[in-house]
């Protein structure tokens, strides 16, 4: 039998083996394992606090009595354990997954945000003048740069930094400030912030106590325009 013929015979089995390996590795990445669990986030972030409290009440109703703090400890310990195991198994494949940008992590709206954030862009024309609103999420009367600020990648940048803003939040607010100053020579300051509020079910009483301004960045014309 020639080498080509031998390869033709061996190929289906080789391919089946490769596919088994791919499915095994991808199957591991698909496991619903939390990554980067932080105790602070579990005990301080309002969505997590609300969710854990709901679970504590549910457990109490079926006769399992634990405190909120115990539930946080358990969630943190089990999350860390699973996450460590996952990291160990996936270590040989990390580079491949990073270079190809592939994965099977599909947490689509896992936890609907009951404390959503509305992006707000305001300008001031003097040191003492009032803040004038240019943009507010979902506000048709303040829709400056609406197409840009609702573009999915931009939305991902600001919506992903509501609780723990990183450098790209600073850079985004600065970029927006430069655009606002560039378009209107009277603008002296630009403020970009979030208005956080609490969403409740329609059958629950409204809660306005949680409404706060967060992660505000103020830029002056001199800072953003050369």
């Amino acid at each position: 039998m020639s080498a080509v013929a031998r390869w033709g015979t061996a190929w289906p089995a080789t391919r089946a083996g490769l596919l088994a390996l791919v499915l095994f590795v991808e199957g591991i990445t698909a496991l619903p394992i939390p990554h980067g669990v932080q105790k602070r986030a579990l005990s301080e972030e309002p969505v997590a606090t609300e969710e854990i409290e709901a679970q504590r009440v549910l457990l109490a109703e079926v006769g399992i009595h634990v405190t909120h703090a115990q539930l946080v400890d358990w969630a943190f310990a089990s999350g860390t354990l699973w996450s460590s195991g996952y990291d160990a198994v996936m270590k040989p494949f990390n580079t491949l997954f990073r270079v190809l940008g592939i994965g099977q992590s599909w947490g689509l709206f896992t936890y609907p945000d009951t404390f959503p954030h509305q992006l707000v862009v305001e300008v001031r024309r003097s040191h003492t003048g009032p803040w004038e609103r240019l943009y507010a999420g979902l506000d048709p009367d303040h829709a400056w740069k609406h197409d840009i600020l609702t573009y999915r990648r931009i939305r991902g940048v600001y919506d992903g930094q509501t609780d723990k803003p990183g450098p790209s939040w600073n850079n985004l607010t600065r970029w927006l400030a430069a655009r606002a100053c560039g378009e209107d020579p009277d603008v002296a300051f630009v403020r970009v912030s979030f208005r956080r509020f609490h969403t409740v079910r329609p059958d629950a009483p409204a809660d306005s106590s949680a409404e706060v301004e967060r992660q505000a960045r103020v830029w002056s014309r001199e800072q953003v325009l050369p």
Binding site: E26, I102, G107, G166
Partner: protein
Amino acid sequence: MRARVTALWALWVRLWDKQEDPVVLAVVRILLATVVLYDFLDMAHLGLVEMLFTPERGGGIPDALARTPVPELYRWFPATTGTAWLAWSVMVGCTAAFGLGFLTPLSGVIAVLVSAQLAQVLPLGDRGIDTLIRNVILILSCSSCGRRFGLDAVIFGTRRLAPAWPRHLLILQLSVMYFCAGIQKTAMSWTPLGGFAALYLILQDPAIARWPFAWLGNIYPLTQLATATTMVFEWSACFIPLVYWYRDTRERPGRLRAFINAKRPLRVWVALGVCLHVGIALTMALGIFPAAMLAVYPALVHPEEFWALVAGGKRFPFIRREAGR
């Protein structure tokens, strides 16, 4: 025991060794490339290429140079707007070539690699749908999809019979994605215990909703029904491979197999999926997510079914020629 393992292995090898017309994969290729092209052209139209993909040193918003590891794109090329435009141009060029079926495996793999680099440059701007798109393009790049309705077919010749495993992997991908999305929805509001309030809550989020939806409280039960339907749809995705297995082994006995083959529940599931994504497109500002998801749906259709579906178009000479084969 050994005989049983050998038999199972033989079954596994046979499972991935089937052949079929790659026409459906070609349709997925064209649809998905169109969606990705639209996304990148829209990005340029909005003037966001430099802002999204140039590191802050070059005037953009990513902090790519401050993270470890620095993306290869900015290890090998300078951190300038020119590099951002170069990456964008290669991405658009390769996606267009992939859609046209020109050197399909090569153009597909390059598009995946560049897209992954852009994801590393600005991770927060890279959404779950981008990962799915890369997964699907990578699978399609390993298939013969360019040899159907593509320039590769003109250059290298049409293939009317090719390995079926890429389409089977796409089916598995959809099944895994929906099922995992379902089981990870552990928030109370996705369950009866939380009153199925999830969709109502999501649509109050200004970063997600396409329109103001405060009025949804007036039709709250409908949003609860939509939430419950979403959960049923996503959880039931784990049965898709079983449905295909039953279809593939229809000659075997079993009441469940006979029932499923007779009632064709997949049609109901697909209809629900289409409604779900059309609903998302109408109510949420998630960009290309619904269109990209629906672009993969043709993979659920067997090539024979595909030709049966387009049989109505047989008055067109092109379709008559292709369907007749």
